[in-house]
């Protein structure tokens, strides 16, 4: 199965997909106004990186890449919990999730 995959789909495609996903994440992160969408963009970037980890791990027959993915997923889960909690708190306080209006850190 693994060898089949490696034969059918070249490595560069996976990497290209990862890069596209990552770029989409960045674009969403920069452009989107809704805090939840921004948050989802971050998740997207993380998963893009996960994809390249898995690809390389497969390529080099190394288990380290896989392990890293677990790490990332675990951190992402924690981050999602904290991040969502913050978003809820922000929404309660300001009654909005528009990123441009959440600017309390400005002097």
């Amino acid at each position: 199965m693994n060898s089949l995959l490696s034969q059918d789909v070249p490595l560069s495609w996976y990497l290209l997909l990862s890069a596209v996903l990552f770029s989409l994440g960045i674009a969403g992160f920069l452009i989107k106004r809704n805090l939840i969408t921004v948050f989802m963009s971050i998740e997207l970037m993380l998963n893009a990186v996960n994809l390249s980890f898995v690809t390389f791990a497969h390529q080099w027959h190394e288990v380290k890449g896989q392990i890293f993915v677990f790490f990332v997923m675990m951190v992402a889960a924690a981050e999602a919990a904290v991040g969502l909690a913050i978003i809820i708190a922000v929404f309660r306080a300001r009654a909005t999730l528009a990123v441009d209006r959440i600017d309390l850190m400005k002097l």
């Binding site: 920069l30 990123v99 400005k106």
Partner: protein, 651 residues
Amino acid sequence: MNAPLYLWLIPALPFAGFLINGLLGRRLPKWLVTTVALLAPLAAFGVVLNAALSLFGFGPAVSSLPYLETCPISWINVGTLHIDFSFVLDQLSLVMLLVVTGVGFLIHIYSVGYMAHEEGYWRYFSYLNLFLFFMTVLVLAGNALLMFIGWEGVGLASYLLIGFYFQKTSAADAGKKAFIVNRIGDFGFLIGMFLLLANFGTLTFSEIAEKLAANPGWQGGILTVIALCLLLGATGKSAQLPLYIWLPDAMEGPTPVSALIHAATMVTAGVYMIARTHVLFDHSPFALSVVAIVGAATALFAATIALVQNDIKRVLAYSTISQLGYMFLGCGVAAYSASIFHLMTHAFFKALLFLAAGSVIHAIGGEQDLRKMGGLWKKLPVTFAVTTVGVLAIAGFFPFAGFFSKDAILYAAYVQGTSGKVLWFVGLVTALLTSFYMFRLWYLAFLGKSRSENKPHHSTPWSMLVPLVILGLLSICGGWIGIGRFAAFLTPSVGARPITAEESAPLELIISLGAVGVALLGWWLADIFYRQKPERPAQRAADFPVAYRVLANKYYVDEFYGATIVKPLLFGSRYVLGGFVDTAVLGGAAWLLGGTAKFSGALLQRWQSGNLRSYAAWLAAGAAAVLLFVVVPWSTVLASLSAIHFGVAGH
């Protein structure tokens, strides 16, 4: 083997008194304050007396003067410069110490009565003890730097006591004036010390004298400069021309203070300092003649002003300036022992006169105007008697103290050739004026009809009378020792006066007779003016309106200094330094610094927009930059770029 004399106790005791009264006096009962304040100078006087007695063969013998006492811990020890806390007792400092602690103690007693009902009784006595501490340090100092400590310290004490009634603007101003004018003199003293260090490498008086003795040919030059700098210091402290202006204003202080500090002791520090450093002056004839001229000019100048003053204390203040001028005159003709002799007798009779004036002022409720006194002899008989003694003494009548010392100075001046004759003549005219204005004071205050609205109401307490009587006795017999024996005693300290060919016993007698003659003349004139024809002074004043106005306004010297020095200084401080330097330059610089920070902050602030997406954009841009840096093989790129560059250069 010298028996220990415990010289350090002499300043230490008044200092202890100062600490006790200064720190705790507010809470101590009055009798305790008085006890402490009186015990301190009494004990110090006892130590001095013990030293004097052992010197004269009573008690533990001191084989030789000068007696040196050095603190085992060195004060300044830098390179070749060694300065110790060293006290020197020699004939000169012994005489001075006896005067300072003795007269000082009497004035302390007097103050107990005089200040009895004043606010800040404890404060007054702590200052007075502080003054004695610094004054004895000044007198005992074995080197110029330690003397300078005392010198500055007595200035501080003087400032504090002149401004004792600090709620009165005029008193506070007078204190500041005294301090500031003295600073000008101190500046000269400091420069003199620096020059001493540079040229002698030491500030110890004995070492300076040794170095000069080793080089008898060293005359004038830098020595003149040093001597003149020291003279500037002395003119400040001793209220000589041109720095005398602070002393008349210093009369704002309580009267015992005027007696102690501004008549008997502190103002004579300049004379003492010249006598102490006399070797320098001896090696500079020019500086000596400057001293003589300053002294003679001051003596005459101040005496003329004293003629027309109406404030009893101001008359005495100008009289003090004039008598200090005599002392300078004596120093200027190298008759240091005659100067110190006059210093001593002057301390007796001028302290007496001031204390008597204080007793008058005290008795008639603070009135100081001579025109509102008169006829007090009946009401204040003791004061009248001692004032008469004081007046006779200062006028120079035989056999009162002032006669001997003033005569010694006049004689020493007369035998110094032609210039000496001029100095003698100025001194003689001054003696005439002195006699006149002192008898004027005497007539106006004590004789004639009373012109006072308020009757004498205070009875004079014994604490004020006893010092008056003792000082009165001293004013009578203080000069009986005679200049001959006194000078012989002082010679090891200040050297003998050079003997000139003109001297002879008959001449000395003639000079004495001349001095007494002018004193009588002055009395006679005062008698005409103020007893026989009381309308005369007003007539004379009307005859010479300009002269009278000039004298009454003290030659407009204060106004002159005000216009030439104070005004420009104030203008400079207010507009140049304050308006331009402070506001424009310093303020501008501070504003510029602050403005720059604020401006750059405003620029950088835009970065911190608080906008999440802009942060994200910067983050992304940064990540992209790092990526670019890592991914692009820069070394290859650079190599190929330089190859292109060299390729072009090769063509």
